[in-house]
Subunit: 124 residues, 2 copies
DNA sequence: TCTTGACTTGGAGTGCACTCTAACTATTAA
DNA sequence: TTAATAGTTAGAGTGCACTCCAAGTCAAGA
């Protein structure tokens, strides 16, 4: 599968796909005889996971570290587990921040709904 | 209240507080006769809100726009409402991304918990 | 054969959100 | 009186994650 197809499937730029590979966030993709990337099913799994993790805000260097450990083989299960738990905890905290902000916004929004109707913003 | 105190209360650098003010994310803080910031209760409310919003990932320029509308008075209720709703929707989507990633991580973590015990990573 | 278009690379450039620096001023303690 | 401390400003620098660019290669079609 070509980089163009992958970029269309996941709605991500070809530049970003090449960048992810260059920095080591996903494994090196095999090239055909003329040097062009040919993504396999496994490559797509890595791409998908990388995009998912990045969308949630995991830092690139952490994902690079994860791939490095992965490529070092079975000796690194424990380190990989620690890394994943760590990121899990950080995401829980981030979600909590978002929830707090959603609450605040919800409150403000309800006040503005009234303000738009009445022309007055209450208690402020 | 001095910038040092504010920075300690909210655990944010003085530089960042000055930056938020400079770019217009919070209103200008009054200075005493020797030009030193003296944060009022209202200033603190703005600071707290700014930090909350930034922690959830709202962009600086959006918060600047909000303050600008706020300072334009009652004519901008509708625009402020739109802005807030917009950010609310974006945060909902971001939370959804985080939830997806948490699920993925949870799955991986449980596999690695077993892998660490057995020395083998299953089905992969 | 020539051109078009899709790909390749290394490396430079961009946008965001701080973060740091230098030069300066005012207040306080020794 | 002097020195240390805590603040001020404008503006430069940093780190992250892309994003763009230039120069080149290759395969297919006119």
């Amino acid at each position: 599968m070509t980089i163009k197809q992958v970029s269309e499937i996941y709605n991500i730029s070809q530049d970003t796909l090449r960048y992810y590979e260059k920095v080591g966030m996903i494994p090196t993709v095999n090239r055909n005889k003329s040097g062009i990337r040919d993504y396999t099913k496994q490559d797509l799994d890595w791409v998908q996971t990388a995009i998912c993790m990045r969308n949630a805000g995991l830092p690139v260097d952490v994902l690079v570290e994860y791939l490095k450990l992965y490529q070092q083989g079975d000796e690194t299960f424990k380190q990989r587990l620690e890394l994943l738990k760590n990121q899990y905890d950080k995401l829980l905290k981030q979600r909590e921040q978002i929830n707090q902000t959603l609450e605040k916004l919800d409150y403000k929004i309800s006040r503005y709904e009234i303000a738009v109707k009445t022309g007055k913003l209450s208690w402020d």
